[in-house]
């Protein structure tokens, strides 16, 4: 589904991602783990087209999207939820969701169906549809950015730290929702610091450190064999 080969990302002289390769198979949920500064978000942004790759290739369903712009990537079927939880604060919930469906804006009926499905998945958003999103709580904003990404009807979803800075009860709900999405057949790449919960929902996982992948395997393998705390704490 999504193939990343020898991908490198640089900020000037600093190499944030050093020639990493991985594959997402259809319907799979893969977790990308690692400490702050390991290069996870740079990898996500680069796949999404918001950062230029300095080397390597990214292909989505056999199509090369390495040099694609962000708008081309989402049209190709890959939606991204960045870690910065970028709602458009002065637009309402409904307007944010409408923009999520921008690439399907001529298919009004399809968008209505999709919105109804999302409203059952996120009842809180339906209640607040006329409210400016700047006034939502952090958890509600996180649900909104995920729902907004789903309005693009992607086949692959990149989720960057959906649990960042949220209360444990809300994190729990976000992970339940991720499981629901996985069951619906969506292919998901989940970046997380919340290792235990990420491994609980993931099929496979890999660990990044200093821009390189240092461990990969099924979720159980990663949990049992690798010493995760050393990757996080730099031991």
């Amino acid at each position: 589904m999504l193939d990343v080969t020898d991908l490198s990302v640089s900020y000037g002289a600093i190499r944030a991602v050093r020639s990493i390769s991985f594959t997402l198979r259809k319907g799979e949920l893969v977790s990308l783990l690692g400490a702050n500064g390991a290069g996870k978000s740079s990898t996500i942004k680069c796949i999404a087209g918001a950062l230029k790759a300095s080397g390597g290739t990214i292909t989505l369903e056999g199509k090369d999207i390495t040099a694609a712009s962000p708008e081309q990537v989402v049209r190709a079927g890959l939606a991204t939820v960045p870690e910065t939880r970028d709602v458009f604060p002065d637009l309402t919930v409904a307007e944010n969701l409408m923009l999520g469906a921008y690439i399907h804006r001529r298919d009004q009926a399809g968008n209505r169906d999709n919105l109804e499905k999302l409203n059952t998945l996120f009842p809180r958003l339906a209640e607040r549809s006329k409210q400016a999103t700047g006034t939502l709580s952090g958890g509600e904003q996180q649900m909104l950015v995920i729902a907004r990404a789903l309005m693009a009807r992607p086949r692959v979803l990149l989720l960057d730290e959906p649990s960042l800075g949220l209360a444990p009860a809300i994190v729990e709900r976000i992970f339940e929702m991720i499981e629901t999405l996985k069951k619906s057949g969506l292919t998901i790449l989940l970046v997380e610091q919340n290792v235990n919960q990420a491994l609980a929902v993931a099929d496979r996982a890999f660990v990044m450190r200093l821009g390189a992948i240092v461990a990969s395997g099924t979720a159980e393998e990663i949990r049992s064999t690798s010493d995760l705390s050393s990757h996080y704490l730099g031991g």
Partner: protein, 296 residues
């Protein structure tokens, strides 16, 4: 009473023109975080289109539509010539290219038309006056008020109710995120330039309607007015630009009425002093735009 009516009409007609000018500038600034210094030249383009069309025998309204169309066209050309090639590379480069494009248009007018003022055809109604409650008012002031109300309502509708408008507002808060939802960057920017050109074209006709002639440097004052109005109102807020425009018109008109003949030539000094006071009180302008906002 007559005095009060006259004062209100003066403020509203000047303010309407200022508000439209400011809106045209802030629409670009909101999205690109860059001031389009070639904005005043769009007004010049509208004026010279009217002048060049004056011999054609077309009805005035057709000439006016043509002038607005040329301003839109030159707005889009500004994007392609001055912004798009260097947009992603450096802010300084865009500042210089937009200045250069402004200079290029002005000098083209100097070279190919004339440095001297040229008459612009105006319908008779622009020079007529009416009496409202005892106040003698030029009809063009009422036309300006009506046109600005219609356009402000039109822009508000576009920005609030249409997908394109909402996408433009989203792009003004977080351009990269808007692109990650599939909103095409180039379409949004070109639309902003077209809208900016449209506003400049209409304002140009109303503005030149006050003077009756067009010169190559005619765009400087509207650019300055628009810039000050957006600074007062808040650089990133569309309602702010409108409020700033009306407030600046209120200040200018009040000074026009109250200053003695000797002091009137220093009017701009008084205006700017007040602007400084406003900025000391509200450094971000009267209305703060949406939070966040990396330049992209």
């Amino acid at each position: 009473m007559a005095f009060a009516i006259q004062f209100v009409i003066d403020v509203l007609s000047l303010g309407g023109a200022y508000a439209l000018m400011a809106l045209g500038l802030v629409i670009i600034y909101g999205i690109l975080r860059l001031v389009n210094f070639a904005y005043g030249e769009l007004i010049m383009v509208a004026g010279y289109t009217m002048f060049l069309a004056s011999g054609s025998g077309l009805p005035w309204i057709v000439m006016a539509v043509l002038a607005v169309g040329m301003a839109i066209l030159f707005g889009i050309i500004t994007d392609y010539a001055a912004f798009r090639p260097v947009r992603a590379k450096s802010v300084t480069a865009v500042l210089i290219t937009s200045f250069a494009f402004s200079n290029l248009l002005q000098n083209a007018a100097l070279l190919f038309i004339s440095p001297r003022p040229r008459n612009v055809p105006l319908p008779d109604i622009f020079s007529q006056t009416v009496s409202i409650g005892g106040a003698i008012t030029p009809v063009r002031n009422l036309i300006t008020i009506a046109a600005s109300l219609v356009l402000l309502a039109g822009v508000a509708f576009l920005m609030r109710r249409t997908t394109l408008g909402i996408a433009m507002r989203a792009a003004a808060t977080n351009f990269t995120m808007a692109r990650m939802l599939g909103v095409p960057a180039n379409l949004i920017i070109s639309s902003a330039f077209a809208l900016s050109g449209f506003l400049a074209g209409v304002v140009g006709i109303l503005w030149i309607g006050r003077i009756g002639t067009v010169v190559p440097g005619i765009g400087l004052e509207p650019l300055l007015v628009a810039f000050i109005a957006t600074v007062i109102g808040g650089m990133r807020s569309l309602p702010g630009a409108v409020v700033g425009g009306f407030l600046l018109a209120l200040i200018d008109t009040t000074l026009n009425y109250t200053l003695s003949q000797d002091l009137l030539k220093f009017r701009d000094a008084f205006t700017f002093s007040l602007v400084i006071l406003i900025l000391l009180w509200r450094p971000d302008g009267l209305i703060k735009g949406p939070a966040s906002g990396q330049r992209t």
